[in-house]
Subunit: 288 residues, 2 copies
């Protein structure tokens, strides 16, 4: 069972998700933060802390630093945010001296189960990169492909989502999409099948794709939707979560270990699924 | 019953929608195009053309010009696209000599009924403006507000959707949102209540809004969602239509008459609803 180092763990919703993850043997929590507060909350939700490490550190910033050290020293495989700002946790992650080793651009990867789609659907990037350039987009794809492979999708179909399915030089997203599609065909982006530009309907509906005369393995059957920027990625994520009836898990990828960075408004279910997604990715990586 | 002038009407799906609109007395079609083809298709779908004008014009371009003239001469109240490219129809609309009078920037307005939201939800702009600047965004809001008022929503609540609910100078959409919100409070954008920046969840869920401590009339109860650009607007539109189980109507607004510009992959239902939306808007305007 992988260990998850939790920074500023004194949060009821975070502890509820960790309790489920521990009972289900998905991950073993290492709780860093205000020990009194952690124990009090644990008691109130019947979370038995016997056999778990609880490290007392009242400062949220120092708590982030300690949690990151657990991961960089390989004593824990997953990093998770508790009652501390995302900015503070990322500062500790990105610290040059004792942060996590970054492989590439950090990016957000979400995995959805939606009643109206025939399989799991990955979305990237809904939360980290504001307006990624081409190189950053390639890193974002590689991160997402790594995450998808971590849950057993070995050659994920990646749709580069744009407002249209033709290249329009006035719409940069369509230009980027065509470049990345070619790079994939030439073996410059590996372990996946890329097609784009594809409008969202064409990416997820074979019928819509055939209407437009687009026939290939990705169109209508995407495993991952890559959006042009934060504006569009965040809207897609939230429309699926809040209007599409989707269940989701999400992590930050691109560093040496997955980071669970759920937000206060996420459900406990989402927090638990996110821990499970991170755990699945690292156990698959360890088996390779 | 308003008249709808249809350019290049020789299209089965368009004629099916027009047949329903005519039977339900929503709109009276004026069919411009290849008369033989129109009559043949009408026959095959049991669409009785008795009492309707059918104008023979085999060239799709000239057919657009004639349809636009019907509208600019006030002989028809709605313009509709048949078997002709959007570009060709818009060329005729925008023609300086005999096009339609433009009030402002043309923009796309869609109205959704979604099972997971408690009322109708307008989306703008999912199809026309690639990267609108601030002035264009103000026109887009005014167009959408006019359309919403045309279906009886007298002071629509407009959420300016962004990836976050705080102003981040690195994210232009949040800067634009704050400016438009202020302009609304100072009476510079009228007939609506604007709030932004709002992330999508906060715009449509009171619970999510309260979680983030945002309490106002718009948050969680938006009538109109204004998206930052085409990338994000198109993704939102298509995720609601294809993954959110939404029913929708859509028009182009900003010229002297509404334009029904549905695409081939739209359902007949969407085409009919779009005619009905246009008809409702002009009959409300005529009654003012």
């Amino acid at each position: 069972v992988p260990k998850v180092a939790v920074a500023a763990a004194e949060d009821k919703h975070v502890l509820l998700a960790l309790k489920s993850a521990w009972i289900k043997k998905i991950a073993m929590p290492v709780l860093i933060g205000n020990k009194d507060a952690i124990e009090e909350i644990a008691d109130s939700i019947n979370f038995d802390l016997d056999g778990l490490e609880v490290i007392n550190e009242k400062s949220p910033e120092k708590s982030c630093k300690i949690a990151v050290e657990w991961v960089s020293n390989k004593n824990a495989g997953i990093l998770m945010k508790g009652l501390v700002s995302t900015a503070a946790l990322l500062r500790a992650v990105l610290n040059k001296e004792n942060g996590l080793k970054r492989k590439t651009t950090l990016s957000h990867f979400a995995l959805f189960e939606i009643p109206t789609y025939h399989k799991l659907l990955g979305i990237t990037d809904a939360a980290m990169n504001i307006a990624p350039d081409l190189n950053e987009k390639i890193s974002i794809i590689n991160n997402a492909v790594g995450a998808a492979r971590g849950v057993g999708i070995n050659s994920p179909k990646v749709a580069i989502v744009c407002p249209v399915e033709v290249v329009n030089p006035k719409i940069e997203s369509t230009v980027h999409a065509s470049i990345m599609t070619t790079m994939n065909r030439r073996g410059q982006i590996k372990n996946c099948m890329i097609d784009g530009p594809l409008a969202l309907d064409i990416a997820i509906s074979k019928k819509a794709a055939l209407h437009k005369g687009i026939e290939n393995e990705v169109a209508g059957d995407a495993d991952i939707l890559m959006t042009p920027d934060l504006n569009s990625g965040n809207i897609l994520y939230k429309s699926l979560a809040f209007l599409g009836g989707g269940k989701s898990a999400a992590i930050i990828t691109g560093s040496s270990a997955p980071i669970v960075l759920t937000s206060r408004s996420d459900t406990e279910e989402t927090k638990l699924y996110s821990i499970a997604l991170a755990a699945s990715i690292i156990s698959n990586n360890n088996n390779k």
